[in-house]
Amino acid sequence: MMIEFELNGEKVKIESTLSMRLLDVIRNDFNLTGTKEGCSEGECGACIVFLDDQIVNSCMVPMSNVIGRRIETIEGFSKTERYQIIERAFIEEGAVQCGFCTPGMIMATESILRKGGPITDELIKEGLSGNICRCTGYQTIYNAVQAVLKEVQAHV
C-alpha cells in the first residue's frame, strides 16, 4: 500500500507493506545510509532516528507506525545548527573511532537535549546506554556530550 509520512522535513510517499521495517525503507528506498543496522533487535542504537519527538530504533518500527508521522534521520539533523555544535564536540573530544555507532550516538545526544530540564550525569549515561560502542569505552563520548551541554547552556 501507499504510505505517506514526513522525512527530514519533506512529505514523502512510498509503496510499502505495513510490516516493512522503517530502517529498510530509509536505507533502501531513500538511500539514506547514515542510519546503520547493527543488531537488528533494538539493542545497539546504531539505527536510531526521531519519530516525531521521540528517538526510536528504526529496526523495530514497522511502517504501519510511521503513517502520517515525522521521521528525522542523521541526514536531516546534520543540516541544523545544533548538529554543528555536537559534531565539533565529538571531533574535539576524540569521540569517534570506527564510526559505525556514531550517527546513532549523535541522535541520542540530541534526544537528551530535546527533553529539556536539568541534565545530570545520570541522565546522560541513561540517555546513551541504549547505544553500544565497541571502540571508545564511552569516556570520550561522555566528555563530548558534556562539552555540548556547556556550549548549549552558554547560549541560553
Binding site: N31, L32, S78, T102
Partner: protein
C-alpha cells in the same frame, strides 16, 4: 609541537554525519545478494543436497565453482565450500545468489541437505591424550626445570571462555567480476591476505585480482582471517554470474558462525624454596575448532611471554591446540595474551597470598630488567621501568591504603602485563617483509601508500601525523586513501599492534628520504623496505631467542564493589600506567586505552559466550552483554615515556596491550573483596555464587 600532543582525527566528519560509506552503504549497479547455506550438524558426511525447483533468478555457487577449493591462510586445510564433509555447525556449503532477497530466503527454506552424522568432539577434556585431535603443540625450557631444589609446590588451574569481537559493523564483502578482473570490496583488516587467498583459489593471474578496503566499522581481529573465506566465496559467485555479489551477514549469523577468542585451560605449577620461586611449569590448551586457521600462532603468542613481567630462572612452557567440532576460533585483540596472562597474574596473586606477601611487593621481587632473559631465553635489550610503573600505579590508585583497609565487599586488584609488538620472532623479516611508498605530487601533496587499514583505531591519523611531522608539512597535505591492492604495496596486515610501530617506522624512514626531495618540482616516489634489527636473534623451530622486536608494558589496578546478596560486581575504577614508548598521539592512545579497558572489562566480568554441542548459545546483543556507558568505571590513566630506538619517534605497540591487563586486575579485586579464588573468566555473579557456596 610535541609529537604526542593531540590532534583531531582526520576521518571523523564523514562518520559523524553519516556520509561515510561502509560496504552495505555502497551502491553497485546490477547488485546481487548472497546468503550462505550452512551445515546444521557439527560433523558428518554430506550425502546429498536437494534444491527446490521452479525458482527463477536464483544461482547456486558451491565447491564445483571454485578452481581450488581451499582457503589459503597459513595452511590450506579449510575448504571454500564444504564438499563431502562438514566439520562444524554453520560451515558454508553454498552461496545462494539472486537479486531478490525474499526470493532467496523462500528458496533456502526449501533446500534439504542430507547428512550421515558422525560423533563430534566439543571440549578440551575430550581431546586430552588423543594425538589425532592435536592441531599444534610446543614445548620449551629455560634453565633446568628437572633438577630443582624445592620445599613447596603451588599449583592451580585456570580456564577462560569464548569472547566475541562484536565489531559494530558486521562482516561484509562485495565481489565483482568485470573485464576479466575480480575485485573484492569490503570490511577487512588485511587486503593482501585476501588477495593471496584469491590467488590460491582462483585460476587467475595476480594482475587480475584486486582487493579494495571499504570504510570498516571495527574489527578487533575478527576481520583478520575470516574475510578471506568470504572473499573466496563471493569471488566465485561474481565470476559465475558476471555481476557484483554482496555477502553481508546478519548479526546472529555473524555471532554464531565467525571466529572468536579461543577458550583455554591453563595449569601453572610453581616450585618454591624458602618462599622464593625457583621454577615454574606452565601448560596451556586451546580449543581451535575444526581448522587450524591462526590457532597455532595464537598458541605461540600465549606461550612466548608466559613468564609475563617476571624473571623466572627455571621454566618449562608447554602448549597444545586441539581440533574440535566447535566454531573455529581465531584472531582477537590480545591474541593468546588475555588467556595466558589471566592465568599467570592470578597465579602470582594466589601465590603471594599463599606466602602471605602483599601482591605488589611480591611482584617487585621478580620484575624483569634490561639485560635479563625472557621465557624464550632472549635478552631484553631495552630499558624496562616496571618498578617505576609500580610506583606510579600505587600513587595513582592509592593502592596501599585500599589493600590495607579491608572494607567489606570492596576489593582492589593489580596486574602487570607485557605485550610484544609486531609479528612473533622473525615473522616481520621472513613472512611479512613490509614495503611502504610515499608519493609526492607536483602540487606538494604526499600520498601514503600502505596496505594498513583504518578500522577505527586511528591508523590514518597516526600514520599521516608521522609523515607530516617528519616532512614538517600540514597534515592536510597528506593523502591516505583506503588501500587498493592495485595501488598500494604490501606493508603487511593490520594486526599484531604493528601498524604504528612497524609500518609507522617504515613511513618515518621513507619521509626522511623524501624530505630531501621536497623541493623537486616533479613527482617523487620513495619506497622503503623492512629491515630486521640485528639485535633480534630467533630460532623458530626451538622457539628460542628474542620473541618480539620490543615489549610494551601495562600496570593496571581495578577496584570493585560486590553486592553481598546478589554477588553483582560493580567495577568502580580502573587505573592504568602504560609504557608504549612515545605515544604518537595522546588522543589516539587514549582511544586505545579506554576501548581496551571496555573490552577487557567485558572479558573479565560480563561477556559470557558458551557453546552446546558445537552451537554458540549467545548469538545476539540481547543474550551476549557487552559494556554500555552505564557499566564503565572511572578510568585514570598515565603514560611513562620510554622511547624505542626502532619505533617512529620512539613509538611501540599499543593496540592490544590495553585489553590484556584488565580482566586479571578485576579477578584479583574480586578475590581481594571475597577471599575466594577466582580461576575462571568471565567472573559473573553466578560463578561467584558457585565458588562461595561450594
Amino acid at each position: 609541537m610535541n609529537i604526542s600532543d593531540r590532534i583531531n582525527r582526520i576521518d571523523s566528519k564523514e562518520k559523524i554525519n553519516g556520509q561515510g560509506k561502509y560496504i552495505e552503504d555502497i551502491q553497485f549497479e546490477n547488485l546481487h545478494f548472497a546468503r550462505t547455506l550452512r551445515s546444521t550438524i557439527p560433523k558428518g558426511k554430506i550425502v546429498g543436497v536437494k534444491y527446490p525447483e521452479g525458482y527463477e533468478g536464483i544461482c547456486i555457487v558451491d565447491a564445483r565453482d571454485v578452481y581450488r577449493n581451499q582457503v589459503h591462510m597459513i595452511d590450506n586445510e579449510m575448504p571454500v565450500f564444504a564438499d563431502e564433509k562438514v566439520s562444524y555447525i554453520g560451515e558454508p556449503i553454498a552461496l545462494i545468489v539472486g537479486k531478490d532477497k525474499n526470493n532467496i530466503i523462500r528458496f533456502m527454506n526449501q533446500i534439504e541437505v542430507y547428512y550421515e552424522e558422525e560423533h563430534g568432539i566439543f571440549s578440551i577434556d575430550e581431546c586430552r591424550g588423543k594425538t589425532e585431535q592435536i592441531i599444534s603443540s610446543h614445548r620449551f625450557d629455560k634453565g633446568n626445570i628437572d633438577s630443582l631444589d624445592y620445599d613447596d609446590v603451588f599449583e592451580r588451574e585456570y580456564t577462560t571462555g569464548y569472547q566475541e569481537q562484536l565489531y559494530m559493523e558486521k562482516q561484509g564483502l562485495v565481489g565483482d567480476f568485470c573485464e576479466g578482473i575480480v575485485t573484492i570490496y569490503g570490511s577487512m583488516q588485511c587486503p593482501y591476505y585476501i588477495k593471496n587467498a584469491l590467488l590460491h583459489c582462483m585460476d587467475l593471474p595476480s594482475d587480475q585480482i584486486r582487493v579494495v578496503q571499504a570504510l570498516t566499522g571495527g574489527a578487533f581481529g575478527g576481520k583478520e582471517e575470516y574475510p578471506s573465506l568470504m572473499a573466496c566465496q563471493v569471488a566465485a559467485a561474481a565470476q559465475k554470474i558476471g555481476a557484483p555479489v554482496r555477502l553481508v551477514f546478519d548479526r546472529r549469523e555473524d555471532m554464531t558462525y565467525t571466529t572468536k577468542r579461543h577458550p583455554s585451560r591453563s595449569i601453572i605449577k610453581s616450585y618454591l624454596k624458602k618462599g622464593r620461586i625457583v621454577g615454574m611449569e606452565y601448560f596451556i590448551e586451546l580449543d581451535g575448532g575444526p581448522y587450524a586457521g591462526l590457532t597455532d600462532v595464537v598458541l605461540q603468542r600465549a606461550l612466548l611471554t608466559m613468564t609475563g613481567c617476571y624473571s623466572i630462572e627455571n621454566f618449562r612452557a608447554e602448549g597444545i591446540s586441539y581440533r574440535t567440532n566447535n566454531i573455529f576460533t581465531g584472531a582477537f585483540r590480545g591474541f593468546g595474551g588475555p588467556q595466558s596472562m589471566f592465568a599467570l597474574e592470578q597465579h602470582i596473586n594466589q601465590l603471594a597470598k599463599h606466602l602471605k606477601i602483599d601482591p605488589m611487593a611480591f611482584r617487585r621481587e621478580y620484575f624483569v630488567k634490561q639485560g635479563d632473559y625472557s621465557a624464550t631465553s632472549g635478552q631484553f635489550h631495552e630499558e624496562i621501568f616496571l618498578d617505576q610503573m609500580a610506583d606510579q600505579l600505587q600513587l595513582l590508585s592509592g593502592y596501599q591504603d585500599k589493600i590495607n583497609r579491608k572494607l567489606p565487599n570492596h576489593g582492589i586488584g593489580i596486574s602487570f602485563i607485557p605485550h610484544g609488538g609486531g609479528f612473533t620472532g622473525d615473522g616481520e623479516a621472513n613472512h611479512i617483509k613490509g614495503v611502504v611508498k610515499l608519493v609526492k605530487d607536483k602540487e606538494g601533496y604526499v600520498s601514503i601508500l600502505v596496505s594498513s587499514v583504518e578500522m577505527g583505531q586511528g591508523a590514518k591519523t597516526v600514520l599521516s601525523k608521522i609523515v607530516a611531522s617528519v616532512l614538517a608539512i600540514d597534515i592536510h597535505r597528506i593523502i591516505y586513501h583506503n588501500p587498493d591492492t592495485f595501488i598500494v604495496p604490501d606493508s603487511g596486515p593490520t594486526v599484531a599492534s604493528r601498524t604504528t610501530m612497524v609500518v609507522g617506522n617504515l613511513l618515518y624512514r621513507a619521509a626522511q628520504k623524501l624530505k630531501k626531495q621536497m623541493d623537486c618540482l616533479d613527482e617523487v616516489v620513495v619506497e622503503e623496505h623492512y629491515i630486521h634489527p640485528d639485535y633480534m636473534v630467533w630460532d623458530q623451530d626451538k622457539l628460542k631467542g628474542n620473541a618480539y622486536l620490543s615489549y610494551s608494558w601495562s600496570a593496571v589496578a581495578a577496584e570493585v564493589i560486590i553486592d553481598p546478596l546478589t554477588y553483582e560486581i560493580t567495577c568502580t575504577d580502573i587505573y592504568g600506567v602504560y609504557d608504549v614508548g612515545t605515544p604518537i598521539d595522546k588522543s589516539a592512545l587514549l582511544g586505545q586505552i579506554h576501548g581496551g579497558i571496555a573490552q577487557g572489562l567485558g572479558y573479565g566480568m560480563m561477556e559470557v559466550m558458551t557453546s552446546n554441542q558445537g552451537l554458540i548459545q549467545h548469538n545476539s546483543f540481547s543474550s551476549y552483554t557487552v559494556p554500555t556507558m552505564s557499566d564503565m568505571p572511572i578510568i585514570h590513566s598515565e603514560c611513562l615515556m620510554n622511547p624505542y630506538q626502532d619505533g617512529p619517534f620512539g613509538a611501540k605497540a599499543a593496540g592490544e596491550l590495553t585489553l590484556v591487563g584488565v580482566a586479571p586486575a578485576i579477578a584479583a579485586a574480586v578475590e581481594d573483596a571475597l577471599g575466594f579464588e577466582m580461576n575462571h573468566l568471565p567472573i559473573t555473579p553466578e560463578l561467584i555464587a558457585e565458588v562461595v557456596l561450594k
